[in-house]
Symmetry: C2
Subunit: 225 residues, 2 copies
């Protein structure tokens, strides 16, 4: 028998969504995944807010005008979008489509509203993970120790947590962030497992058919058994 | 805030099913998973066939009479069963139920007919993996080099392979066994990921509600946002 190789067996990329209440450790986990896995990249959003010092256009965000943003919305070019404090943020469809077709995975660090819109627009490519703090006081402690937030912001984020928590049933996986390293390993396992999902393979039917034909040519009679 | 601990957060066990054409390496992969993971055990079948030298009752199989087997079938006590060369084999329901309730995982090394019956009887607990050889000749080579089979058996197994292969669309995951170690790691990732599936958690709703109540007591006003 002459071998049909696995070279033609490709897979479609994954959209890995991480959501959690503020302070559960989602962003640190996302960064660790990006650092450890060479085939996953962050999804770069478009936004209408001002570029800040230190930010790179096309890397942190694609900075665009409100008119350009409205056009993307009208043309159905955004997989999800939201307004936050008067600025618009959204996920452009084209770069996501092209990454998935090439078998490259994307990570999304978004809230339940964003995750819900992505689910409506791209269910089959989506893998959603909800990160939970082990205890309520861990949320509070993390928000306080990261020191980037004012007391007011911490108050607002904590007050929002119960609502954010109520959306866990919309997610595929749950990771309780008891220990950072364990959580990273668990999310990596989810990513690796999801890459083996049957539906993500491209060319599998043809690969199997080729194998069946080879075997039948050399070992006939299987149909009679 | 006083911590609600994760102690009450349990999870239900998983039924991990591996299927493949004979010679794809499924049994070696199952053995490696059992050796590396302390929380998974083989499912022990009941059978009407004679106990062979070296086999332990209750470990390799539960050896039972044909009458006892028929009773299990009649009482709906088998999750799947089959007749092979005049002997009956089946998976008893009670030990599976008890393992899953205790959060222990079970591995099943069965063919597509068995997997299909398990799917009908226990879909939510099932995780199914189809192991593929990288090339048709790898099947043949493995069957030939394991030397336990006569030329006749090899002929029969190879003739059966195309039919077995045709059932890959009934499985959740596909692993192409190009390299044994990679395949084991991929199946381990599937096992680890599936343990984080939201539906497997027991007590999650209560855990979340407790956390929401704690946060609301200290940070009221979230409902208004």
């Amino acid at each position: 028998m002459v071998g049909l190789s696995t070279d033609h067996l490709k897979r479609r990329g994954i959209m890995l969504v991480l959501s959690s209440p503020s302070g559960a450790g989602k962003t640190s986990i996302a960064k660790a995944i990006l650092a450890r896995d060479g085939n996953i990249a962050p999804s770069v959003s478009v936004t209408t807010r001002e570029q800040r010092p230190g930010e790179t256009d096309g890397e942190d965000y694609h900075f665009i005008s409100r008119d350009a943003f409205q056009n993307l919305v009208r043309q159905g070019q955004l997989l999800e979008y939201a307004e936050v404090f008067g600025n618009f943020y959204g996920t452009p469809r084209a770069p996501v489509d092209s990454a998935l077709r090439d078998g490259r995975d994307l990570i999304f660090d978004i809230d339940w509203q964003g995750a819900r819109q992505l689910t409506e627009n791209a269910r089959d490519d989506l893998v959603t993970v909800f990160i939970l703090p082990p205890r309520a006081e861990d949320l509070e402690r993390r928000l306080m120790t990261r020191a980037q937030d004012t007391a007011d912001t911490i108050q607002r984020r904590m007050a929002k947590a119960p609502d954010e928590l109520s959306h866990y049933p919309e997610y595929d996986y749950v990771v309780v962030n008891n220990d950072f390293e364990t959580s990273v390993v668990q999310v990596m396992a989810i990513l690796h497992a999801e890459r083996q999902r049957r539906q993500r393979f491209v060319g599998l039917a043809q690969f199997i058919r080729g194998m069946q034909e080879q075997v039948r040519a050399k070992y006939p009679g299987g149909e009679l058994m």
